[in-house]
């Protein structure tokens, strides 16, 4: 990692110095965070769809029960697991993240979940996107409710890098959903630039009135075309020599970094990552295929942002974890607690958070799953608080927050 004269390094230095002076570094960091301009902060949620197995992502190699539950798919240090703290280690395919962890920018929390256990992908993803587990009457998304509390109603404030609109961003606040900023314009085939411009004008006109979702969508298309056309930074190459891998994680984070660096008021970004995460069979192969691209995308994102990483909080989420024991197909079935990854200048990084409930048969949920220790809604709430949202009760409906999980300074 090249030298990075970021505010974060300054803060870290200040914190270390403060210990010698008798001040608690956490208090200093908190004060510094409060003083920072929260109006420039950006929250990025990366959603890995399919129910990622946390136990082979953040490997509890120090738990005596782990290898008994997973005789052929359990990962050992000798397999290339990168030790984090003497008890947990990173999947070998995620080894590239070890530097971010050492740098204090990356934290893991391997026991996130909620009491409304759903083993259905669809329900669990929906419950998470709406932040209303078990309540199917809530249709809007948690990021939309966050965006509503940020001043302004600009379409660039809330962006989903996805091929379909995720529920997270559904609701009254406008959002931009796209896959590629570089090709976002009306392209009228071989008719030439004149016809493209004519089509743009005439189609624009057709969408000016009308109140159904189709008309709203059309107006958002043209407003986004204009914003992108007038913001050259949105077409810029990655900075600091960052190289993104192919695939949806790489492409999504590359666009996310462009939006952040362009400084056009984007405050919340959702990156949808479909992939082979629903590992009912031959899990090792699937993880080995997906994880290096994910790690490379996160490393590139961090490098691309340079010191802007201080204003960014990236959360990697998934709908649920997987069974503690392997199944008959060298895979795992739908489970309970999942593992979150957190990257950014405000992350209390370089550590694995949360109490560890253990994997002994007596400590498993229904005898099959790792228990959770923190509700995902408390994680979302602390992220919203970090972003500067005032009324947190609007972010997660009908929920009494438990303790702040302490993931972010």
């Amino acid at each position: 990692m090249p030298f990075d004269p970021s505010r974060r390094i300054f803060l870290k230095g200040a914190g270390v110095a403060a210990v010698g002076l008798g001040f608690a570094p956490s208090a200093l960091l908190t004060r510094a965070a409060e003083a920072a301009d929260v109006g420039s902060r950006v929250l990025v949620q990366v959603f890995l769809r399919g129910g990622v197995d946390g136990l082979n992502l953040c490997v509890p190699h120090g738990d005596g029960s782990y290898y008994g539950l997973r005789p052929t798919i359990g990962l050992r240090l000798a397999d290339g697991v990168r030790d984090l703290d003497g008890f947990f280690g990173l999947h070998p395919g995620l080894a590239a993240l070890r530097d971010l962890y050492s740098e204090g920018l990356l934290a893991l929390h391997p026991t996130i979940g909620n009491a409304q256990l759903s083993r259905s992908h669809f329900d669990a993803q929906d419950f998470m996107d709406s932040a209303a587990p078990g309540d199917k009457t809530v249709h809007d998304g948690w990021l939309d409710r966050v965006a509503r509390q940020i001043p302004g109603e600009d379409v660039m404030q809330l962006v989903a890098l996805a091929s379909r609109t995720p529920r997270s961003v559904l609701g009254p606040h406008p959002e931009l959903v796209l896959q590629d900023l570089a090709t976002f314009s009306v392209r009228a085939g071989t008719g030439g630039a004149t016809w493209s411009a004519e089509a743009d004008q005439l189609l624009r006109g057709m969408h000016t009135s009308g109140s159904t979702p189709v008309y709203e969508s059309g107006r958002a298309v043209f407003s986004a075309i204009d914003r992108i056309r007038t913001t050259p930074a949105l077409q810029s190459s990655p900075a600091n020599g960052a190289v993104y891998p192919g695939g949806t994680a790489g492409s999504g984070l590359r666009q996310a970094a462009r939006l952040i660096r362009a400084d056009i008021g984007t405050r919340a970004i959702y990156v949808n990552v479909p992939g082979s995460f629903d590992t009912h069979a031959n899990q090792l192969a699937a993880n080995n295929q997906e994880y290096p691209a994910l790690a490379a995308a996160l490393v590139a994102f961090r490098r691309d942002l340079g010191s802007r990483i201080d204003d960014v909080l990236l959360m990697v989420t998934t709908e649920f974890g997987r069974t503690a024991a392997q199944n008959g197909s060298a895979g795992t079935d739908h489970g309970f607690a999942h593992c979150g990854l957190f990257l950014g200048g405000s992350v209390r990084g370089g550590r694995v958070h949360g109490a560890w409930p253990g994997l002994s048969s007596g400590s498993l949920n229904e005898g099959r799953d790792l228990r959770y220790t923190v509700d995902f809604r408390d994680v979302f709430l602390s992220a919203a608080r970090w972003l500067g949202v005032g009324d947190l009760s609007q972010v997660v409906p009908r929920y009494t927050p438990a303790v702040d999980p302490g993931l972010f300074a």
Binding site: R49, G50, S118, R119, S120, H121, F122, D123, V155, A162, S163, R164, T165, L176, V177, L178, Q179, D180, T183, F184, S185, V186, R187, A188, G189, T190, G191, G192, T194, W195, S196, E198, A199, L202, L203, G205, M206, H207, S209, G210, T212, P213, V214, E216, S217, G218, A220, V221, A224, I225, P274, D278, H280, N327, G328, S329, G331, D333, H334, E366
Partner: protein, 461 residues
Amino acid sequence: MTPPPIGPRVARFALDRLGYGPRPDSIDEVLGRGPERWIEDQLAPSPDGSLETRLRPLATLGYSIQETLARYDADQRTIGTALQELRTAHFIRAVHSRNQLEEVLTDFWFNHFNVYEGDSPTRYGIARYEMDAIRPHVLGKFRDLLGAVANSWAMMSYLDNYLSSARAINENYARELMELHTLGVDGGYTQADVQEVARAFTGWGIDQRAGAFVFRAASHDQGAKTILGQRLPASQGKKDGEDVLDLLARHPSTARFISTKLCRRLVSDAPSEDVIARGADAFTSSNGDLAEVLRAIIGTADFWSEAFGPGKIKTPHEYVVSALRALGAEVTSARAFVEGSASSLTSMGMPTYEALDPTGWSDRGTDWLPNPGSHLARMNFVLSLVSQTTQGVAVDLRTLIGNVDASNAAAVTAVVDQRIFGGTMPADVASACRSVGSTGSLQAGFKVVGLALASPAFQAR
């Protein structure tokens, strides 16, 4: 059945809901035949010789799974040829078949029982799955459809049941069978039921040498099981699974779940309790006869009153097929518009056969729009279509406008309104279409059609 007074608007509505929208001559055809008879024709598909002729060049469609394995297993990359032909066949049928309802339903049920072409060995059986397990049953009995799916290579592979055995249970298929195929997630089953159903289906798998479904008695859990309170005695072998399918197919939650999904496809994103109940009752009283369920839903005021509302937002697939039909296009390859450019179905978020999850694609229009990225890809798709630059698609404007002067924007606009919109083209769309300039290499008529199909009015059905 009580359709409202018949006119071009209602004919277009019937074509939009029970098919993929009008081709240039379809509205006249429905008006000529009368809507009741046209609907009965759709409920009883008849042979379509010209469709078969169009499909004939696609040799891989006739391959058995064993033949597909033999040809492509050594080099998995080359199976792309067969998958490409399958995609092309899917669009040729949707665009050209006279049995439009059969095509809509084949797509609907494939999506209901979704499998993903990227999964191996699923992909070797995906063509036979659509043609042999899904298509023959879409207007038949639900139990036959459910059984054909359960006894298929593609489903047993995709949901990992071929890896499940008495010693090593895999509960993936068992869960989705109840959650997605029959009862619905709130249909009243428990985790214990999932585990018992998984036991019942142990031994259901695939024979990779024969390229076929197989039941392996040695892998089957011969113990007794209790599922939804019903006891399955010990030592039944394959009958365990068939009993479970019987139980699920006649469960009231299944009747309701299937009716709800069909109503969502045919009526609206949020169908009324009333129309759902009509479909569910028909399902129960006809012992799961899917044509009867459709008759019940189509026979409601809920259905026909949709002809006078803002419509249901098309999925990208529906949008692309309806645009190809409206233009009277001749499709010989789907490659360019499925995966080709920034305006393909991939950019719209719906690459054919590539729904990764067992849930399939969303059947709610509002999950597809608003979405600026996908919406722009729709506009650019039709604009490139009328520029005649989409490979594998031939467009002859004469098919749509006949002898009308192609350089006369106003005259072409009038034809498009009549033949494609059934006279419902909004005034601002018509006025924009009439105003196109005649400069440039593209004829005004093509511009008119491009704008009309890119307009808000064509995004819903």
